[in-house]
């Protein structure tokens, strides 16, 4: 190989590792800087978008992982074992969404929002590896802080926490104004 086929190397790395591989590591293996490496990976990702290719490359918080395209699911399910799925109840999903948006967060804060004790839900989420401890809050009782894991990003097809679907300030404001309009109408009658 006279000229290095960087894309082929990245491909081989992601294929072999199976798991997510951090940008730094790939850059070190290629002996390139992070910026150049990122460009190569992005090219490869674009290449993989072709319908003639069965896999895709996903980004997870600065790491990359190879997986199959969802269109392949119906064929794969005939031959491969279904990846282990955790059925998330409404309680678990609500708790998870609070943790995702408010991390790092303590159990007490979660309980304040939901109005219900969350011990069981948080423990289950930790067990499912969707949530992890982030350390302890520097406050009386040193309560545990929780946040989401890389597995959370993977299971929900989110690249990074910044990419979480947002009810942004604008939407909230609109929501409020709408309600206020309605109120006025009522008061006018």
């Amino acid at each position: 190989m006279e000229e290095k086929n960087y894309e082929a190397i990245v491909e081989a790395i992601l294929f072999t590792m199976g798991e997510s591989v951090e940008l730094e590591k790939i850059a070190a293996a290629l002996e390139l800087d992070k910026k150049e490496t990122k460009k190569i990976i992005e090219n490869l990702m674009k290449e993989y978008e072709k319908p003639s290719i069965g896999m895709k490359i996903i980004e997870l918080d600065g790491a990359y992982q190879m997986c199959t395209k969802s269109e392949m699911y119906e064929y794969l399910i005939r031959i491969a074992k279904q990846p282990k799925k955790h059925v998330l109840t409404d309680v678990l999903l609500e708790t998870l969404s609070i943790i995702a948006y408010k991390q790092p967060i303590t159990k007490v804060e979660i309980e304040k929002i939901r109005g219900v004790s969350c011990d069981h839900a948080v423990n289950k989420l930790v067990e499912y590896n969707l949530v992890k401890e982030l350390g302890r809050l520097d406050a009386p009782g040193r309560p545990l802080l929780f946040g989401t894991t890389e597995e959370f990003l993977r299971s929900f097809g989110v690249q990074s926490l910044d990419e979480l679907p947002m009810l942004d300030q604008v939407q909230i404001e609109e929501f409020k104004q709408e309600a206020e309009e309605e109120m006025k109408v009522k008061l006018d009658i």
């Binding site: 199976g18 395209k69 609500e94 219900v116 040193r142 009810l167 909230i172 109120m183």
Partner: protein, 249 residues
């Protein structure tokens, strides 16, 4: 059994409250607190009281609703210096936040369904490469951690365990459920009305043995007033309330 079925519908007091608001087609910002409180209490009454942990969460919200309800019944301060805050404001804020996360939870569920269609691969590291897998460098991992520090960590965990045992509450005996039902109390007040046509609210309360009895007596008065069996009057805020029986003697 009934409780678990119901709990699948309502994941806690806020969930129930949102349901009631939707059912009544009212806006979160304009909660008709009296109606909602009544409906909420009806729901609680229907719940089988066999899981105190779950019940207590619902009861905390019931108390909040009743607190708001009573604050709204009180005449507003006449001074216009400071604008009085709507007693519902805090609840509205909490409901809005909860609603937002509920909405996000649905969004997440959709995403999960899409993301689930994907297969990952186990690592298949060729033997030639696997040889180079470096073992974990324990010395570096452990660093300057030593037994004394580990001991400290353990002690602080165990101390937390001990702290969890509330020295006051752990000495409490069993809490017996006090049987004070609203319907019993209403009968009691009606009886009282037969012998005392006009009486003072304070006097009536003095005859009550416990806090629960006082509260239920107050609720009984409200209920009897609503159905028109008694008439109440009060000259000034915080004055004694005069109760007059409207029932035939």
């Amino acid at each position: 059994m009934e409780l678990t079925v119901k709990l699948q519908v309502f994941e806690g007091p806020l969930d129930l409250l949102l349901h009631l608001l939707e059912k009544n087609k009212v806006n979160i910002y304009d909660i008709p607190i009296v109606e909602i409180t009544n409906q909420y209490m009806e729901y609680i009454a229907e719940m089988k009281r066999n899981d105190l942990n779950v019940m207590s969460e619902f009861l905390v919200m019931a108390a909040t609703l009743i607190d708001i309800k009573s604050r709204m019944l009180l005449p507003k301060k006449e001074s216009e210096e400071e604008e009085e805050e709507d007693p519902r404001a805090e609840l509205v804020q909490q409901l809005l936040e909860y609603k937002m996360y509920k909405c996000m939870a649905y969004e997440l569920r959709d995403r999960q369904m899409d993301a689930e269609q994907v297969f990952f691969k186990e690592p298949t590291i060729p033997p030639e490469v696997a040889e180079y897998e470096e073992p974990v460098d324990l010395a570096e991992l452990v660093g300057d951690m030593n037994l004394a520090k580990l001991d400290q960590i353990f002690k602080s965990i165990m101390k937390k365990q001990v702290d969890k045992i509330d020295p006051v509450r752990s000495k409490f005996g069993k809490i017996e459920k006090e049987e004070v039902s609203l319907s019993d109390k209403m009968l009691y007040v009606e009886d009282f009305c037969k012998t005392h046509r006009n009486f003072s609210f304070r006097n009536l309360l003095e005859a009550q043995a416990s806090k629960v009895e006082v509260i239920v007596t107050f609720l009984a008065i409200l209920e009897l007033m609503k159905v028109g069996k008694i008439f109440i009057s009060q000259e000034h805020t915080f004055d004694d309330i005069k109760i007059e029986s409207k029932m035939a003697a």
